[in-house]
């Protein structure tokens, strides 16, 4: 239960440091991208982000101190509560004018879909881990599929296409390392592709448009297309070494919407150039490398599933987010982990990193 000396020895200092460095880079970028608003520090986004970080640290300590097996024991409860919160947000959203993905607690917007990613990883790992070697059977794929489909539909209805889609690879990754038959998994993917038209039907107009824009940015030169074009100009004009912190013209002149949240990478690309962007990508890769490493070192099946799920989650968020700022991915509203402004995303990522460290620290205990 408690942390002994050996556990401290296995605390992955590098992983924690990398995460902290990325977060600090994020703060600097948020400051730069919001300074045109001219807010005093007391009302600034940086301060709000720092407050969220403070909340995150409380969660971080809890997540590290308690063995991750305790979380796995409660995985289904956590999952159920999170699903209920999604339903709640959905009902509230309907009562209002349109889409709503969050509700506010003491003035802070709380977005359950961000936490659903972690809850799903926990629930799937709990199931797959418990089934030990019997994941090869087809019956044992039923429960995991249900675990995926429920939050997938709820998040999609919010409507948050990006987060919903992100749940799918997490599902496949955990089943893959959990020992499901490749034959079944590939069939499920094919089945999913066959259902695409139905899925397309469920999307809202603007979501369809965003996907269309990805194929041809000129479809909507004012909406999503505009953002992509301006974001590409920002990143491209950053060149090798960038225009310098606080000096990005695209950034400072309000050319890019959402540049402190989903499009924050365009500010990094513009102000810190190719070198800065590569350094950031490398920092992420180190974290992801450590995540896979932790998954391999642990002899615990549950821990391996969780570590893999988290590794895939972080990787895909980074790839999709950066990809959309340079027009390689559709604009689907995935934040850049630890960097984008937004409390729920930050909190969820801190929890994910905490869980990774937790698995690493207890890798030799049974």
């Amino acid at each position: 239960m408690m942390i002994d000396r050996r556990m401290y020895k296995d605390f992955d200092v590098m992983l924690a440091t990398m995460a902290l460095v990325i977060f600090i880079l994020g703060l600097l970028t948020i400051w730069s991208s919001t300074q045109a608003k001219g807010l005093p520090f007391a009302q600034s986004y940086v301060l709000k982000q720092l407050m969220w970080f403070g909340v995150g640290m409380i969660f971080f300590i809890i997540v590290i101190k308690v063995s991750y097996h305790k979380f796995l024991d409660m995985a289904y409860i956590i999952y159920a509560v999170n699903v209920l919160l999604l339903v709640f947000v959905l009902i509230m959203g309907h009562a209002r004018l349109g889409a709503q993905r969050w509700f506010s607690i003491a003035g802070f917007a709380f977005q359950p879909s961000e936490f659903m990613k972690i809850s799903l990883i926990l629930a799937l790992s709990a199931y797959v881990g418990q089934k030990k070697g019997s994941m090869e059977s087809l019956e044992n794929l039923i429960v995991p599929t249900a675990l995926l489909v429920i939050p997938f539909v709820l998040v999609l209805l919010q409507p948050d296409l990006g987060t919903a889609l992100l749940l799918v690879p997490i599902f496949f990754a955990i089943l893959l390392v959990g020992g499901a038959k490749l034959k079944y998994l590939t069939r499920m993917i094919l089945l999913g592709i066959a259902f695409m038209p139905v899925f397309w039907h469920l999307l809202r107009g603007y979501q369809k448009q965003r996907l269309m824009v990805f194929i041809n940015p000129n479809v909507d030169p004012l909406g999503a297309g505009y953002t992509i074009i301006q974001s590409k100009i920002a990143i491209g004009s950053g060149g090798l070494i960038g225009k310098g912190w606080l000096n990005g013209t695209q950034n400072q002149l309000n050319f890019i919407p959402e540049r402190h949240t989903d499009f924050i990478f365009s500010v990094i690309g513009e102000e810190w150039g190719f070198l800065g962007a590569i350094v950031l990508v490398l920092l992420y890769l180190l974290i992801i490398y450590r995540a896979f490493d932790i998954g391999n070192l642990t002899s615990d099946r549950y821990g391996k599933c969780m570590a893999t799920g988290i590794a895939v989650l972080l990787s895909l968020q980074v790839v999709i987010n950066i990809g959309m700022t340079i027009g390689l991915m559709p604009v689907v509203g995935i934040p850049l982990p630890l960097v984008s402004y937004g409390g729920s995303s930050l909190l969820a990522t801190i929890i994910a990193i905490g869980l990774l460290l937790n698995i690493g620290m207890r890798r030799s205990t049974f």
């Binding site: 004018l97 349109g98 909507d220 030169p221 505009y226 491209g236 896979f292 590794a311 340079i326």
Partner: protein, 573 residues
């Protein structure tokens, strides 16, 4: 080793991203760098206009008119002197105003900044012409909301204001942009989704003098849908004028289907103030007037004790529950004794022996104390709720409240106490914890007018070309003799020379009604009238409510008479 598959897949994705960054930042650097230096991409939005609102005779009530703004793009100003001269000649701006305008534009040099809003059309044309050879100046056209009848019907329409930056976060997915207008109350808010247009625009590339070189893309704007109301603007104006300087509300409805013909709440406001510029002090005044509360729709958003108009419910309940028949009489000596406490009738000398019709005609409290006690609080509560009190009517306007239909459980939950017999007596005459909105009283009146059906009051008939499906009225299952007795009581109240509502009496058309004078802890009594006409085949029902308006039989009855008269002139009855 299965995670090898994952690692390979993720590596490919990361390699793709790094390649993409290399391509954009290194290989295409000079292209993007030039684009960024020139800031050569502009978006010229073309707003989708908001839907028009028409009355039941398709007379336009709320439209969108074109308004012209003068816009300066600081970076593109060529000849500053010449531009200043133009502004002073055409717009009559002083030197200081022009300096301020330039300074304002200088703060955002690449974007267009509005320096003169809503300028007259001829001046806009003159500037437009001159702008061809004066770089840096543009005339922007946008649609501005126009409430043709100003404060008449304002609480039906509601008002608009700009979306705030905080709201934009959750609204941008629905196509809202900075400076867009959004409905804040009334129809403008309730039907925001239908009324709002979809913005379009063109994205253009400009040269370094700011002149368009190439159109990159174009999206057609779409107009919002029009609303066709059940309101008759002629009756609406009369209703507003009759209400005059009183604080209160008047609502007129067709009892057969719930169509609202007029809805007034006073004091009023002019919704145009919220879309015009340089009116912020007037706006503040309207929004912070806590005494008159001009922004609140008193017909649906405030609750009051109903007083004697509620006797319609008490009488119906007693007849339905067979506690009385048409000739059951109670003696009114001017006071009713409950233990040692005396409950008074409004007439100190008493009404003598009263049956239900006389009780309603004279609004005799003692008669209703007797039947209230015979019924008991539970039955009163049941009938209060049956007549639609205690919850909103679901009229298609915003900020409707439901009021309170009290009972034993309600008292335990909200007042932490048991129900006293004396409270039942107050309940029976529409006082005490009971609180209602004028629209609920109107709907109750319609039950008497349409043979026992609870209708759904509504303001909108048709959206675009879609007729809205009428919600079916709910049959309350009242017996014919119940309806007949209460209706007769309401008939006598207006048409008998000693009736409380005799000021409503009209020649040529028979009106029936009930007055109410409700005591309240805040001062002078509230005054009510509710009624319908013609008696034999009701087509119009009216509620008049005056906040601290004295006696129901005086001004409300007279205002209602005016409404019935106009309804007759217009051919409704």
């Amino acid at each position: 080793m299965r995670d090898r598959i994952l690692i390979i897949a993720l590596s490919i994705l990361f390699a793709l991203i790094v390649t993409g960054l290399f391509y954009n930042q290194i290989l295409r650097y000079s292209y993007y760098s030039k684009m960024s230096r020139n800031n050569s991409i502009r978006v010229l939005p073309i707003g989708g206009s908001r839907g028009t609102i028409y009355d039941r005779n398709e007379k336009p009530l709320v439209t969108s008119r074109l308004s012209f703004d003068a816009v300066i793009s600081y970076q593109e100003i060529g000849d500053r002197r010449r531009l200043a001269e133009l502004l002073s000649n055409v717009l009559g701006m002083t030197g200081e105003q022009i300096m301020n305008a330039f300074e304002k534009a200088g703060r955002r040099p690449f974007a267009g900044v509005i320096i003169a809003e809503d300028i007259p059309k001829d001046k806009a044309l003159a500037l437009e012409e001159a702008s061809f050879d004066t770089s840096g100046l543009d005339i922007e056209t946008k649609a501005k909301r126009n409430y043709i009848y100003k404060h008449f019907g304002c609480h039906i329409f509601g008002y608009l204001s700009e979306v705030t930056e905080a709201e934009l976060d959750s609204l941008k997915d629905d196509g809202y942009r900075m400076h867009d207008m959004i409905g804040r109350s009334g129809l403008e808010k309730y039907y925001e989704g239908s009324l709002k247009g979809v913005d379009g625009g063109t994205q253009i590339e400009v040269d370094n003098r700011g002149h368009q070189t190439r159109v990159l893309g174009m999206k057609e704007p779409e107009s919002g849908q029009d609303l066709y109301l059940t309101i008759d603007i002629r009756l609406q104006i009369v209703s507003d004028k009759l209400l005059g300087d009183h604080k209160g509300a008047v609502v007129v409805m067709d009892p057969r289907n719930g169509e609202i013909l007029a809805l007034s709440s006073h004091p009023t406001f002019d919704p145009n103030i919220f879309v015009e510029h340089n009116t912020s002090s007037q706006r503040m005044e309207l929004l912070t007037d806590n005494k008159g509360r001009p922004m609140s729709n008193k017909a649906i958003s405030s609750t009051y004790p109903p007083g004697s108009v509620f006797k319609i419910v008490t009488a119906s309940a007693a007849l339905e529950e067979k506690k009385i028949t048409h000739n059951t009489r109670f003696f009114c000596s001017g006071v009713y004794k409950l233990g040692s406490a005396g409950f008074h009738c409004w007439k100190d000398s008493g009404h003598g022996a009263q049956n239900v019709v006389e009780g309603l005609m004279n609004s005799c409290n003692v008669f209703f104390y007797n039947i209230g006690r015979a019924l008991g609080v539970d039955r009163l509560e049941t009938f209060t709720k049956l007549f639609g009190y205690g919850k909103p009517t679901d009229i298609d306007l915003t900020d409707e409240v439901g009021g309170t239909a009290p009972g034993k459980d309600w008292k335990v939950a909200h007042k932490k106490g048991i129900w006293y017999e004396g409270e039942t007596l107050n309940y029976a005459i529409g006082q005490g914890y009971l609180s209602v909105t004028p629209i609920q009283v109107l709907r109750m009146t319609a039950v008497m007018a349409n043979n026992g059906n609870l209708v759904h009051p509504h303001v909108v008939k048709k959206i675009g070309s879609n007729e809205l499906q009428n919600q079916k009225p709910k049959d309350l299952g009242l017996r014919d003799d119940t309806l007949r007795e209460v209706r007769t009581g309401m008939f006598e109240a207006v048409n008998n020379d000693s009736g409380t509502a005799k000021r409503t009496k009209l020649s040529g058309t028979i009106v029936a009604g009930k007055t109410g004078t409700a005591q309240n802890p805040h001062g002078r009594t509230h005054a009510w009238f509710c009624g319908f006409a013609p008696f034999s085949d009701p087509k119009i029902c009216v509620v008049v409510f005056l906040e601290h308006g004295g006696k129901g039989g005086v001004e409300p009855a007279a205002i209602a008479r005016g409404i019935f008269e106009e309804a007759k002139n217009l051919g409704y009855i």
